[in-house]
Subunit: 195 residues, 2 copies
């Protein structure tokens, strides 16, 4: 049976973006699959009692220095989104529709790029269409799908599942029932996959 | 001029211990010096508005899995201290006396080992004496020194300095005025030293 990485993320989380850029290469190195699982980070923070990192001014200032260091380390573009904090509910529903269409990876990576490399407004229909197109799904069908109750429900159930399984921040990765938190733990994810 | 790493830590922080175990090898690789700067993490959390990581139950549960992973990765012993959360004021003053005696590194590492590898009560005179001895300073002189006003003041001024320079958690490392937070950023510290 192929090993699996479950990747719980919120598109509004820049560290989730950083992790996402590395995920397919990690999966390929270990013959693993990736389950892309968007969740609503605000609800996760609320349920766990964790505070939003950017709510602490000194931590937010550190993050503005830290994120470009990882971007340089990974060799991926990064640009702080000028609309931060972002409501990423709509594009996350788009990712779930992408998953239905067998395009979870391409749609999610396109959504992350729009948010964290291109400084786009990911709540606008124009950007949502561009993400769909870049991810290889039909833009108009995607815009209609994100209003479907079962898509909305799936985002909610992913969030509930994450909370139940002990997630308190993003990104959160599982290999089996082992939880890993942060792009800075991807080497621990790899160690778990190698076991 | 030799490059310098300023290492702000609290002995009660297990991630500070993990970083401390790696510090001298990193400094040696880059011809750098280490300035060991104990600070009172509780005061740093209070000033920055950050919450204590272990105050979030799900995060504390993750840490209990995460800390052994780093211990394994670094090849250093780790044992959760059964007295956590720890008041490390006295052993941190001991480290400052060790610094006066030109033994900051050995005393600090001995204090970290007692706390995070040997599950000792670092508030007891017996353990303080053992730390002093292991660090190469006189145990009785050390126990007397930690009551000196200028040693107490130095712990306070380190803490104030950390807060002023943007520290919000431990360990916090500086290369020049660049702040790095966490043992998981040691590779960024090395990149800064290599520039």
């Amino acid at each position: 049976m192929a090993k699996a990485i479950e990747f719980f993320y919120d598109l509004s989380s820049p560290y989730s973006y950083l992790a996402a850029t590395q995920l397919e290469a990690i999966a390929a190195r270990h013959g693993a699959t990736v389950a892309w699982k968007p969740m609503v980070l605000f609800a996760v923070f609320k349920a766990s009692g964790n505070n939003m990192p950017a709510a602490v001014a000194a931590k937010a200032a550190f993050m503005m220095k830290d994120l470009p260091r990882w971007s340089q380390q990974y060799g991926v573009p990064f640009q702080m989104n000028s609309r931060f904090p972002i409501n990423a509910i709509k594009p996350m529903r788009l990712c779930l529709y992408g998953d239905e269409q067998g395009k979870a990876g391409p749609v999610t990576l396109a959504a992350f790029r729009a948010t964290w490399a291109e400084d786009r407004d990911v709540t606008s229909d124009e950007t949502l269409r561009a993400i769909a197109k870049a991810g290889g799904i039909d833009p108009e069908q995607a815009l209609a799908a994100i209003e479907r109750p079962e898509i909305k429900e799936r985002l909610k159930s992913n969030t509930d599942e994450a909370i139940t399984r002990g997630v308190f921040g993003a990104p959160a990765l599982f290999v089996g029932e082992e939880l890993f938190w942060g792009n800075d733990r991807l080497h621990h994810v790899e160690a778990a996959l190698a076991r």
